[in-house]
């Protein structure tokens, strides 16, 4: 009886004390929907390692991340781009890089495409491979669904609007894109460099095209030489302290590289 009473008392004590700690150590992070899934996963692991800490992740775009970090509404902002000139009052911490590469079927004889040729193919001005030096055959344009970060990066890089693109197949995730291109010798698509390099290494019949003379590889995304890529940043208004600093350090540590790769991004270190 006594021991039962003691257990109940202990349980009540634990139940009462936990939220108090949690309320003290809550990290609010808002911003880019590209970065959010990764930070959510890192946050879960961080919470496991630091009991009592809560990581609250909300999306709303890179601009919201910048604004919230500046106004103090969030402890940390997320931005899927580098800081602009007028944002130099903020501090950015790169947690990973996101790169996309153009993929063709390995049977395709075309080995390079200029930026203009890619734009012309995606806007429907070029519709046959013979126009860009390949063997004759109608081009199948594979595009991503609206809202996807890879589409956003692609459109931004080539200065296109979503409605400019004349697609023949619209896909959701990277895997579907790779399967579609692997099954169609005349298809062209774009997927995350990490996934494409892995699949090509596994013997899937696809090839990654270089951009502006730089080979599309995870290594070149990491060192920043590959043009069709962007940094994924955490942003703070002042030098981070306490739990916020601990969290930012953790996101940049090797502990999170497996999570970064799961989201098809490229981690910082080797």
């Amino acid at each position: 009886m006594l021991s039962k009473l003691f257990t109940t008392g202990a349980l009540i004590f634990v139940a009462l004390s936990t939220p108090v700690i949690a309320a003290d150590d809550k990290i609010v992070i808002t911003g880019s929907s590209t970065v959010a899934p990764l930070i959510t996963e890192i946050g879960k692991r961080f919470e496991e390692k630091n009991p009592g800490v809560r990581v609250d992740v909300q999306t709303g775009g890179s601009s919201r991340g910048i604004n919230d970090a500046r106004s103090g509404l969030a402890d940390i902002g997320m931005a899927s781009r580098a800081l602009k000139k007028d944002e130099s009052d903020l501090k950015a911490y790169t947690i990973a890089r996101d790169g996309i590469g153009v993929v063709l079927n390995s049977a395709n004889t075309v080995s390079t495409l200029t930026d203009q040729q890619i734009v012309d193919i995606y806007t429907g001005k070029i519709s046959d491979w013979s126009a860009v030096g390949g063997t004759q055959g109608p081009i199948t344009v594979v595009n991503k669904a609206e809202g996807r970060s890879t589409l956003e990066l692609f459109l931004h890089f080539f200065k296109l609007k979503a409605s400019d693109i004349k697609a023949h197949v619209v896909i959701g995730d990277n895997q579907q894109g790779i399967k579609t291109v692997a099954g169609n010798p005349n298809a062209i698509g774009y997927v995350s460099v990490g996934t494409a390099e892995f699949e090509a290494g596994q013997g899937t019949p696809i090839k990654l095209l270089g951009m502006g003379g730089v080979a599309a590889s995870v290594e070149n995304v990491r060192n920043g030489s590959f043009p069709l890529a962007r940094p994924l940043n955490l942003v703070t208004s002042k030098e981070p302290t306490g739990m916020t600093k601990l969290f930012i350090d953790y996101t940049q540590s090797a502990d999170t590289h497996d999570l970064v790769k799961e989201q098809f991004f490229v981690p910082n270190g080797p």
């Binding site: 609206e146 809202g147 697609a167 579907q176 099954g183 169609n184």
Partner: protein, 284 residues
């Protein structure tokens, strides 16, 4: 417990179950409506019917091509699946040798249990490249209809089999007494007797085809356009939601709930048609 008390308990239990089941449906519709409301109030209902195209991030919300695609794909798949399903049920009941019948029965049940994502993957790696040889890009209305047809054949076959098994004995005896042949019994007595059950099975299968997402998403190309041929890629309402929901915000997200609402209306119309024309039971 007295008999009336037991009755009351049963009545209570059944009523609660019925209210919960219908209540959840009402809640879902309410949820869809409230999520869809922001875009209705801001851009209006007409934009969904009369916009030029579907570019939700640029403020264009035309749902017509996707409504047409959903409807066309489920119609096509049922046109393929219904004759196959009915024929296989009849074959099983009247013509197949017993050993073969049992094996066949199992195959149909297994087919009903294959996850749609597996069928989709098969479609993407086998059906799509085959259609590609006929006409690019391969991923098309036809590919979607073929994969869907395979998925809903078991529904039609199993409901038809169950209906055939439920035909009262005296129908067979009567037919035999009249000296009807096997074909005569089949075409003149059995099938007419279970007409409404077959129709109900077809409607059930069609509703499943309308609601299917994963397999369709993988094989039908997902380009938002009104199809002009079987080989055109199309996007269905369900695929639209699955493709864009994960990354949609604001009006875009809200517009996807309108897709969901449109799909619900389509299924309601189907259910209403099914009740109107297939409700009455022919045999006693």
């Amino acid at each position: 417990m007295s008999r009336t008390a037991r009755d009351t308990c049963l009545l209570l239990g059944l009523s609660v179950a019925a209210i919960v089941a219908s209540g959840i449906l009402l809640l879902i519709i309410l949820f869809l409506s409230t999520e869809a409301w922001p875009v209705f109030s801001q851009v209006g209902l007409l934009k969904f019917a009369f916009d030029e195209a579907w570019y939700p991030t640029e403020g264009a919300f035309d749902l017509k091509p996707m409504l047409v695609a959903s409807f066309a794909m489920s119609m096509l798949s049922i046109m393929l699946a219904a004759p196959l399903g009915i024929a296989s049920a009849v074959f099983c009941r009247f013509y197949a040798p017993p050993v073969f019948r049992r094996a066949y029965q199992w195959i149909i049940i297994l087919l009903a249990g294959i996850p749609s994502v597996v069928l989709g993957l098969w479609g993407l790696t086998v059906i799509v490249p085959l259609i590609l040889m006929l006409a690019p890009p391969g991923a098309s209305l036809l590919a979607g209809s073929l994969v869907l047809a395979l998925m809903i054949v078991p529904t039609v076959a199993l409901t038809t089999q169950a209906a055939l098994a439920s035909i009262p004995q005296f129908y067979w005896v009567g037919a035999a007494a009249l000296g009807l042949s096997r074909e005569g019994t089949l075409l003149g007595v059995a099938l007419p007797a279970i007409r409404s059950s077959i129709f109900a099975g077809i409607m059930l299968a069609m509703a499943r085809a309308l609601g299917e997402t994963m397999a369709v998403l993988m094989v039908s190309g997902n380009v938002v356009q009104l199809p002009t041929s079987l080989f055109d890629p199309v996007r269905t309402l369900t695929a639209n939601i699955a493709l864009e929901m994960a990354y949609a915000t604001g009006d875009h997200r809200s517009a996807l709930f309108v897709s969901g609402l449109a799909l619900t209306v389509l299924v309601f119309i189907l259910a209403w048609v099914a009740r109107r024309s297939g409700g009455q039971v022919v045999h006693a």
